[in-house]
Amino acid sequence: MSKYYHSIEVETDKCTGCMQCMRACPTEAMRIREGKALILEDRCIDCGDCIRVCPARAVRSMTGSFEDLTRFKYTIAIPSPVLYSQYGMGITPNHILNGLKGLGFNEAYDVGKACEIYSAVLKEHLHSYSQNKPYISTVCLAVVRLIQINFPDLMGNLLSMEAPSAIAGAYKMAKAKILGISPQDVGAIFITPCPAKMIAVNHPIFKSDPTLDGAIAISDIYGVLFSAVRKIKSLEPLHDSGGFGVATGIPGACIAGLEIENAIAVDGVKNVINILEDVERGKITNVNYLELWACPGGCVGGPLAVDNRFLAKIKAMKLIQQMGRNLNINLAEVERMRAHLSCDVELSTYPMQPLSTDAREAIRKVKEREAILESLPRINCGACGAPNCKSFAEDVVQGRGEVTDCVFKLKEATMESLRRGLEIAQKAPLSIRKKGA
């Protein structure tokens, strides 16, 4: 099993230990220790819900910066189509691509075409696959992570398809050849609405080699890009794709566009967990395809996106309308690109570990955990540094804390020692003790 890569970290000097992230985390991966947030790495799925709620801006996505550009001789910006919906309608996708060039990228690649190819291959897969149903989309990497950790049995339902940005990566290889330079000198940098995209950069799930060389957060580029767009003198025609690119970031838009039957789109980690539990218990029998999104509202709701997700969605829908809902793809191009989307590695899982590798010891711990939980107030106050009493009880049996870390248990222990102290204080030497005292 390869090492599990993460794309979120806590900057401890900024963290105030306010517990917002711990309460928001859908997989109970956050703890507060010594006044600072701590990520339990084996539970984190990189969804970024913690980034969204942190008032101190201490939870940070490990995306890169403009300095990344200096590592390469030639750089290609690959903006997530979410970027197209982040500004007013006066700023078109073409303005954005031109603006990115103005920021110092040698080229700006419109991922819309790649999304169309992706969609064509997806539709074909849905007809021809013979794996476990319902098929599960792999567009959202945080969802893939969730399945790797909490639903390893459903790995066989995942469509083994790389994201459309893999096609952009292939474009980079071709570009290196044209330029006569080494592919290592060409940097494909994704402009991302979510931290999980860093997984594709540092630890790809479906490919042996990364197709992207870096990712910069939309929130980090938003302001400078706006200035760059305003400075554009003449617009080069860089954008020529239809609406599918924008649709790949909106839950249900692709399902509608591709007219996929018996498919549902589910967004938000908790909702995704619920539907995956239903799949696991065999409840979902008449659905062929699940499009799952960690972020409420899909990619436009990404923790690194800037604009209000409801406004961004309205803009995205208008863009889809303007750019067209049809797939304008060339079949020969699909054939050429197909291999870039296919998975070339065996998928790893990182299942939650049992309480002990020895079953008897694990059972003993389950019982102990239940007994501790029974003795706790179960009001989930969080003062112990765990999100709820159940996870605190588990932390105790796993040696990550002790029972008196619970303020109520501490109060009980203090009361008990006071009571005993009082009992002792009331004693008196025999010489002066009154009868019956």
Binding site: P152, D153, E277, D278, E280, R281, G282, K283, P351, M352, Q353, P354, L355, S356, T357, A359, R360, A362, I363, K365, V366, K367
Partner: protein
């Protein structure tokens, strides 16, 4: 006849209320979570989750309430579901795929396809059913944890 069993390493009791469609599946989820913590193999967990869920649905659709009893011994896990309900008149037919006594109402809700008991049978290694019409049904589902 019941063979002599080792003393369970872990036992838990759950209650399922008839007609409570909203919470149907919670026992299955709880059992799944415990099995994961103990380190039972994924295949066994999956089968136990499906069998328990189907049994829960049977209670929700056809019974007033039921007690689910989970027992884990070194070589198997057993879930006994004992309900107070209408009981099953013809067990042999109930085990056939597609046979259902569900009302139209239940069928319209997407249940009662006659797959419950056959699906439980498919996902367990041993299944014992006893039922008294008008009283209730007792399901004993066994899955071996050692190959």
């Amino acid at each position: 006849m019941q063979e002599k069993q080792a003393e369970p390493l872990l036992e838990q009791e759950f209650i399922v209320q008839g007609g409570d469609f909203i919470h149907a599946g919670e026992v299955s989820s709880s059992i799944k979570a415990i099995l994961k913590e103990i380190g039972i193999s994924h295949d066994v967990i999956r089968r136990a989750a499906i069998a328990t869920y189907e049994a829960e649905m049977n209670v929700v659709c056809y019974a007033r309430r039921a007690a689910f009893h989970l027992a884990i011994t070194p070589d198997r896990l057993t879930v006994i579901a004992e309900d107070e309900g209408q009981g099953i008149a013809d067990l042999e037919r109930a085990m056939q795929e597609g046979f259902s006594t569900s009302s139209r109402e239940i069928k319209e809700m997407g249940f009662g396809a006659g797959m419950g008991l056959p699906n439980i049978k498919k996902n367990t290694d041993e299944l014992r059913i006893s039922s008294v019409v008008g009283k209730g049904t007792r399901l004993e589902m066994v899955i071996f944890t050692r190959k």
